[in-house]
Amino acid sequence: MPDLKIQIKNLYKIFGRNDKKMISHVESGMSKAELLETHGHVLALKDVNIDVPAKGVQVIMGLSGSGKSTLIRHINRLIEPTSGEMLVDGNDVLSMSDSDLEHFRRFQASMVFQNFALFPHKTILENGMYGLKIQGEKDNQAKPKTQKWLDRVGLSGFENHYPAQLSGGMQQRVGLARALSTDADILLMDEAFSALDPLIRTDMQDVLLDLQKELHKTVIFITHDLDEALRIGDNITILRDGEVIQQGNPQEIILNPADEYVSDFIQDINRPRVLQIGSIADPKGKSEGPSMDAETVVEDALQKIILSKANGINVVKDGKNIGAASLEQLIHAIARPTGEKKGIESYR
């Protein structure tokens, strides 16, 4: 079990005047709709428990209104909780004093926003330097540090431009550089790439994955896009109406969706391109076919099987054989699961 960086425990958030009094109603089973109707309070998060391991990408996924943006704002306490705990390295963020919280935000967690939220009156360089200046660094120290990150995200030469002069993709690179330059080990990304068009989005995902390979930050990534979640997430948490529906790594979620909501969510993904043979392999199985790494996706495995005219493959992980998958098993795994497709809209 890797170190836990962030532990969210029994977190509740209810928007409204008497939010603390409403918890008992929610605990006794009142639904979001009922609470709104009878008490005029909005239930945003209900008993959320998430353990986030260090140095990985934790994706939190859900439709709009599922509470994911509210949840991420609890981690650096931009939103005050109704009740619960938010432990970061064992310290409860939610009970920090104002000055401790300032220190936490300055040095331990930085954030990237969906709508970029750059400072329009500051140049790109000044935007990038913002976190460092707030930390109290002088210009001559902050400038080279920021420049390094601007170069790293591909913004060399734009230092003296203003945000309005850049395209959306470029603006979010500034947002990323601004967050990275503080050297915080937690990176909070609130639908950071959702406002970008698909090609630019993939591009930015690559930038992030690339950075993550060398930085190993603990990333909390909010998205409503499953493809994005599968691409960058080491772990995925699915939220619905403020409740955690399922948590697990991408493979588990695809193979064993917890309920209809999740299976509807994963209906349209490209299964052969996402599923890895390691998660399909039968540990007791044996095959005459070629050996392949556990992280190979089914699509590539099928190609290899057909080329080598075998009817299965051996699965290898870290040089050890961990089982085999037959052609039939592979095809089973990529078939769309049965069940009526209601459409994700019906869950709103």
């Binding site: 931009l78 220190h103 939220a117 400072f119 329009p120 009156h121 500051k122 203003y162 309005a164 909070l188």
Partner: protein, 296 residues
């Protein structure tokens, strides 16, 4: 049935005593505190006098050059700068130089006073809805109450002269800067403020690095309005003995001097236009970042 046809007003003697009581109390207060309050305003009085004397003692060509230079610095426009210098030459040629200097001194000092008091008040107001709820009606009163009504107690307390004039001008001219500072600060995009918060900025850092700079266009509109309203008060201020361009206008009303009134009136207008254009251009230049963008 006289109850319904005649309003049940307070008795005539009661009413007279009531009014007399208030007048008496205020006179007492004025006698007791008048000098102290006057002493409180002394620094302001000396500053205003010093500034007026400075303007009058400076040779006129230098003033013209300073006017041109300030107009250019503010607006970066040669046209405006030359226009301002020509206006001042014309004003001087028509014999209104001294009065214009007095008016410029009064307007400058009162605008400065309004900014120094108004911007912090606006900031305070933007921080708290409760403060806003209390200050807004006060500003409404300041702007709508007939000027003579508040001139009266001011004159009773401080006599006639420059300080009561300055106070009268500021009471009328300060509301816009307070309102627009408050509005500007409140209108700053919440997302950007959230971003500042997320980096651990405290209130002061957030205010000075993000909120205030982004509110500047509105705050500047407030400064501009304050200058304009201060100029509008010049004639009224002359009624309580403030020297300047208002005095001849007042005389010309009383004696039907058409030309005198017109000339001095137009001089006030010229000042207003110069102040307005220069401050507006300056305000625009503060928003350099909005240039050349596609979503600005």
């Amino acid at each position: 049935m006289s109850f319904f046809t005649k309003f049940p007003a307070m008795g005539r003697t009661d009413l007279r005593d009531f009014k007399k009581g208030i007048d008496g109390k205020f006179k007492e207060f004025s006698r007791e505190w008048g000098e102290g309050i006057e002493a409180f305003f002394d620094p302001l009085y000396y500053f205003l006098n010093w500034f007026e004397k400075l303007l009058n003692a400076t040779p006129w060509p230098i003033i013209i050059l300073i006017v041109g230079a300030l107009a250019y610095l503010g607006s970066r426009s040669w046209k405006l700068s030359v226009g301002a210098m020509v206006s001042f030459l014309l004003i001087g040629y028509l014999g209104m130089w001294k009065n214009t200097m007095s008016t410029v001194a009064l307007i400058s000092v009162s605008t400065l006073l309004c900014i120094v008091l108004g911007i912090p008040l606006g900031i305070w107001m933007s921080r708290s809805d409760r403060v806003q709820k209390i200050i807004t009606p006060i500003l409404d009163i300041m702007q709508t109450i007939p000027i003579f009504v508040y001139l009266l107690p001011v004159v009773m307390l401080l006599g006639i002269g420059k300080i009561p004039g300055l106070i009268a001008v500021c009471v009328y001219a300060m509301p816009p800067i307070i309102r627009l500072t408050n509005l500007g600060l409140r209108l700053v995009n919440k997302d950007v403020l959230e971003a500042a918060d997320s980096f651990g900025a405290n209130y002061r850092q957030r205010l000075f690095s993000v909120q205030f700079p982004l509110a500047l266009p509105n705050i500047f509109a407030g400064v501009n309005q304050t200058i304009m309203m201060a100029l509008a008060m010049v004639v009224i201020a002359s009624m309580i003995g403030v020297k300047g361009l208002g005095m001849p206008v007042l005389q010309s009303i009383q004696n039907q001097y058409l030309a005198l009134g017109l000339m001095n009136g137009l001089a006030i207008v010229a000042l207003a236009i110069i102040f307005d254009r220069v401050s507006q251009q300056y305000g625009k230049r503060l928003q350099r970042h909005r240039e050349g963008g596609h979503d600005a």
